[in-house]
């Protein structure tokens, strides 16, 4: 028998031609029905830092994790939930802008009576003098817009302390 490479190739080519009829396929994988809301995506190198608050998934809210904003709007037989939501959205965006790259995870917003209390951890900024100015500035601006007393509590934290988990 001839086992030369040329003969082999010829035979293989013939068999391919006969058995595998060339046709086009539409390739489909099973649907990804995973819950993704409120969950953080994994990074390639598993080096994405998360804070303690971010590390818990949303199904743990009310069990081991608290709420990011607490007010009476969403209780049974109370109203004003959606207004609070829009206000919260505004406050969050405002805080993100003024304390740019300083707040690791979203601020906690508490309401009682005519008062809004915003509590947020913050890294140390380049200029430490800027922090009290930013606090009072944002308090003034927010209270002017929301027409009520706003208090902002900033806790200075260090990166090593606040990184709870890497994913």
């Amino acid at each position: 028998m001839n086992f030369s490479s040329k003969y082999c190739f010829q035979k293989l080519f013939v068999t391919l031609r006969t058995t595998n009829v060339p046709n086009r396929c539409f390739h489909v994988t099973p649907m990804c029905a995973k819950a993704t809301a409120g969950r953080y995506k994994l990074s390639k190198m598993n080096n994405k830092p998360l804070t303690y608050d971010q590390a818990f998934k949303p199904n743990m809210i009310g069990v081991t994790k608290g709420w990011q904003s607490s007010h009476t709007g969403h209780l049974h037989d109370e109203d004003g939930a959606y207004e609070r939501m829009y206000e919260d959205r505004f406050i969050r965006r405002f805080m993100d802008g003024t304390f740019h790259r300083l707040i690791p995870s979203g601020p906690v917003i508490k309401r009682r009576c005519n008062m809004i209390e915003v509590v947020a951890p913050s890294y140390t900024p380049r200029k430490l003098d800027a922090l009290p100015f930013l606090v009072s500035y944002s308090e003034r601006m927010l209270s002017a817009v929301l027409k009520c007393n706003v208090k902002i509590y900033i806790h200075i934290v260090y990166k090593e302390d606040i990184e709870y988990k890497y994913i």
Binding site: A33, G62, W67, H71, L75, H76, E78, C113
Partner: protein, 250 residues
């Protein structure tokens, strides 16, 4: 010397209400029990009665006229005006977290103790669950659903026998210290006088009543007073609400 009427006066002088109500600390010394006792010891035991009106002794209208336009001064100008009395006050608090409510209840209880307010009890009605049934996936697959629920826990603090001014002070103190995310409803039961024309008829009827009638009446009264207390069932609502249900009929 200390007959029941005078003792009552001394108690009135010591109570928290009057001090708050007059609003001016300068004149508190007038109401302190020491002075009252001295007044009693100097004069005869029926000193107050001989004067005609009890309140004339305590009236401070001459001091306070045309001094200020505060609400306290206005009250003091006409001291004969009767204060609002409450038979009971129920304070209902709602929140998503039960431990928060419990700690707040202990706070309210201790505040009531310090102000000598009688706490009748604490009710724990069952929580309400607002349920929402939604699709599990973002799109289609109607058979697969998830049910979310929002629970509102509730607790009720029952207070007994308050005057209007104590109620005001106590409620304001409590409401200033309310934790975030907790709602409060206050139910008050006010005591009112029977109107004069009905009262006259009642007096007329009393003359015609026999002993059996009196017994019956007293039994009825006891029953009524027993019923007046609120129970957890009064605050019970449906365990689930249909309001938020989507797709499924309960």
């Amino acid at each position: 010397m200390f007959d029941s009427k005078i003792m009552a006066v001394i108690h009135y002088g010591r109570s928290f209400n009057t001090i708050i109500r007059r609003g001016i600390p300068k004149f508190i010394s007038i109401y302190t029990p020491k002075n009252v006792i001295e007044a009693v010891s100097k004069n005869e035991s029926n000193y107050f009665l001989s004067n005609g009106n009890l309140k004339s002794y305590f009236s401070t209208s001459s001091f306070l006229l045309n001094t200020s336009s505060d609400s306290s001064a206005i009250i003091a100008e006409n001291p004969d005006e009767q204060e609002v009395l409450y038979r009971a006050i129920d304070i209902l608090i709602k929140g998503h977290e039960k431990p928060v409510l419990e700690s707040y209840i202990t706070f309210m209880k201790s505040a009531a103790e310090h102000l000598d307010i009688t706490v009748d009890g604490v009710l724990h009605p069952k929580f309400i669950a607002d349920r929402m049934t939604l699709l599990k996936s973002k799109h289609i697959y109607k058979k697969h659903r998830v049910q979310y629920e929002m629970r509102t826990h509730r607790e009720v603090l029952q207070l007994k026998y308050l005057t209007g001014s104590t109620a005001k002070v106590y409620l304001e103190y409590i409401q200033r210290n309310i934790p975030a995310g907790v709602a409060m409803h206050v139910h008050k039961w006010e005591i009112n006088r029977i109107p004069e024309h009905i009262r006259q008829e009642m007096v007329k009827n009393m003359e015609n009543m026999t002993e059996e009638d009196w017994k019956k009446e007293s039994e009825n009264l006891a029953k009524l007073q027993g019923e007046k207390r609120t129970v957890a069932k009064d605050y019970q609502e449906f365990d689930t609400t249909k309001r938020f249900l989507v797709g499924i009929v309960m």
